[in-house]
């Protein structure tokens, strides 16, 4: 992978060098003359011909101006050709200066291509040195890279093997960058983790053994029961008192074992009820909604409910509230006070009307089956409401308290808080 990249880079550099040389070859002999500049020189000399001594060079060229007899009239600098022959030797450009009367003199444009040649040689040298430097840097970088990716990780591997041999299985083998050893490193590390796994498995097997013992103890109950049954038969049919005592002793001990085992795995079965109450944990916030819905005449002002988690059956609790409000509507038909408090392990909801209450002697019977107060003679009803409500509350671990309050009959529903039963 990296190797490919390296080769690619090398190739690219090679191609770059080739194209640099190609470019160099093509530009090397591009020393054409700038005819526009030369024209400017010629034209400016021509226009200044009559006062050539004040002529100024406005071009980037060097030139010499000669008159018709070959005398130097103007030079842009020293060391320029001063005669036609010198100009020919130096490959200078020689042009006529013309006036209305025809050719009046010559202009010699200096040829500076030798200077250009020196420059281009320097350029060549620079290109070669640069290319060599790049190649050197690349090779150096690659050998450093090889050291870091191959030699160093290999040394690391040695250290790893030592620590495995020493029994230290917790230190993972760090993967080398680029994963140059690939499967080799991986499988080495897999070996380490497999070893570690084997150790863990051993520990687990020990734990399971203990569990098995516990399970066996449970299975003891069955044989103990058989022992007990057999002993009872033995006691019944044994003739000697001593034998019977022995059997009785066995029976007692078997009972003892059984009790112990039963204690271990005791399970209580709830009595099956016709109306199932399934209390669950719920947030107390739901109560205000339930009260709102029970109080459909809006006789009461529902106070805020303290935040807590209660243990109740939502459906049954709603039925309890419905029943109490319905009773109040039926018998008192006044405004209703609702008070909600947190009391010890209960959330207490006290619902009191302003109907004056019932005679004190009737209070104890109100929650009984088919009992109705004296004031209920002309009102429909079976006398089951408060009885069922009371049952529900008991099922939920709470209580329904009926009493005469200050203004009328007060029903206090105590809902147990979660986690208190």
């Amino acid at each position: 992978m990296k190797y490919k990249a390296f080769l690619l880079l090398l190739t690219i550099i090679f191609l770059a060098e080739i194209s640099a040389f190609a470019w160099f070859m093509n530009t090397a002999d591009n020393d054409l003359q700038n005819s526009v500049e030369i024209n400017a020189a010629v034209q400016s000399v021509q226009s200044d011909w009559d006062s050539i001594s004040t002529h100024k060079n406005s071009t980037s060229l060097d030139y010499t101006v000669l008159d018709g007899d070959g005398n130097v009239l103007f030079k842009t600098r020293a060391e320029l050709s001063e005669s036609i022959n010198e100009a020919v030797i130096n490959r200078d450009t020689i042009l006529d200066i013309e006036a209305d009367s025809g050719s009046v003199g010559k202009i010699i444009i200096h040829n500076n291509s030798r200077q250009g040649l020196a420059e281009s040689r320097k350029k060549t040298a620079a290109v070669i040195v640069f290319a060599a430097a790049v190649q050197f840097a690349l090779c150096a970088a690659y050998s450093v890279y090889i050291y870091r990716t191959v030699i160093k990780p290999f040394k690391k591997l040695e250290g790893f093997a030592e620590s495995i041999a020493g029994g230290n299985l917790d230190i993972p083998l760090t993967m080398d960058r680029g994963n140059i050893f690939g499967a080799f490193t991986e499988s080495f590390d897999i070996m380490r983790s497999e070893l570690k796994k084997a150790r863990l498995a051993e520990a687990r097997a020990n734990a399971e053994k203990k569990e098995l013992v516990a399970k066996l103890s449970h299975d003891i109950r069955t044989p103990v029961a058989s022992i007990k049954a057999a002993s009872e038969v033995g006691a019944a049919i044994s003739e000697s008192e001593k034998n019977r005592q022995n059997f009785t002793h066995i029976i007692h001990k078997a009972d003892q074992i059984n009790t112990l085992v039963t204690n271990l795995f005791s399970a209580t079965l709830e009595e099956l009820q016709q109306l199932t109450v399934e209390p669950i944990d719920m947030e107390s916030g739901g109560i205000s909604e339930m009260l709102e819905s029970a109080d459909y005449f809006h006789y009461a002002e529902i106070p805020t409910v303290p935040d807590c988690l209660i243990y109740a059956d939502k459906l049954r609790l709603q039925q309890v509230f419905d029943n109490i409000f319905a009773n109040s509507y039926k018998y008192a038909n006044t405004k209703i006070d609702v008070e909600i408090l947190l009391k010890n392990n209960h959330l207490s909801v006290k619902i009191e009307d302003f109907g004056g209450g019932v005679p004190n002697e009737e209070i104890p019977f109100l929650k009984e089956k088919f009992k109705r107060g004296k004031n209920s003679e002309n009102i429909e009803g079976a006398g089951l409401g408060l009885y069922i409500s009371d049952c529900f509350m008991k099922e939920m671990g709470g209580e329904l308290v009926i009493e005469n309050g200050q203004h009328g009959l007060a029903a206090t529903i105590l809902i147990s808080l979660s986690g208190t039963i």
Partner: protein, 252 residues
């Protein structure tokens, strides 16, 4: 008389999954005291970690109130809680949770620089702590994936303590470690506690629980009972027995 550090009133926490409500904590009233090594025990699913995260302001309870010192943290916004945490709490997690892309030291400093701007003092304190937890200097510049689990967890403790929190919360700190590393971590916690650091630790491992001086047993979201073990001393048979009895009574 012990100083109360954290007080909860009818603390409840519920989760809903797929419409069904699950109440993990139920009306918990609890006080935690300064200087204690409080251990919260219980079977898995009993709500131990939930309680821990609620106490530490990592999570907001559904109902109820938590007072930290004289500050009610249940009223704070999520950013307010973040500020509270960085000021007052340190955390050690079961999964350690060091950030993999940062060196061990940087993990610690990332927590420290939140509170203090004095880099030098922080680095010095970090080095002291690393020394105290027995992590050598050359390890602290490694990455979390390059060190062993025990070392990582001890680094986690350093991170938790870098800001000298009033209380250190540890969630099953030995859960992901082998027994030897686990012991090291417990020793570290114990020694910091001896220097006065309040610690609250959740565990379901008796060996870890033994380190606490106050054991709370959580079951089905309520505190079933608690047990005062007194100060930890190594190889104390009586303590051990007392704890075993307590746990048996709790139905461990």
């Amino acid at each position: 008389m012990k100083n109360t550090l954290i007080k909860t009133e009818r603390l409840s926490k519920s989760f809903s999954s797929g419409g069904a409500m699950q109440h993990v904590l139920k009306n918990i009233d609890l006080e935690l005291y300064k200087g204690d090594f409080t251990v919260i025990m219980g079977a898995s699913g009993a709500g131990k970690s939930t309680l821990l995260y609620a106490l530490s302001g990592m999570d907001t309870p559904t109902l109820g109130k938590i007072t930290f010192g004289d500050k009610v943290i249940t009223d704070l916004s999520s950013d307010g809680l973040a500020l509270f945490r960085k000021e007052h709490c340190g955390f050690v997690f079961q999964q350690i949770y060091l950030i993999d892309t940062m060196s061990v030291l940087d993990n610690v400093l990332a927590a420290g620089l939140l509170v203090s701007k004095d880099k030098k003092a922080l680095a010095t304190r970090a080095r002291e702590l690393f020394k105290a937890v027995d992590i050598p200097e050359e390890t602290i510049n490694k990455f979390p994936t390059q060190i062993s689990g025990g070392q990582a967890q001890r680094a986690g403790i350093v991170r938790a303590l870098i800001n000298s929190p009033e209380i250190l919360f540890a969630d099953e700190p030995t859960g992901a470690l082998n027994s030897k590393s686990g012991l090291d971590v417990l020793d570290t916690l114990t020694s910091f506690n001896e220097q006065g650091q309040s610690v609250v630790m959740v565990t379901h491992d008796m060996r870890s629980a033994r380190r606490g001086n106050r054991i709370l047993y959580l079951k089905d979201g309520i505190v079933m009972g608690e047990c005062d073990l007194g100060k930890y001393t190594p190889n104390n048979e009586e303590r051990h027995k007392k704890l075993s009895e307590f746990l048996t009574r709790m139905g461990w």
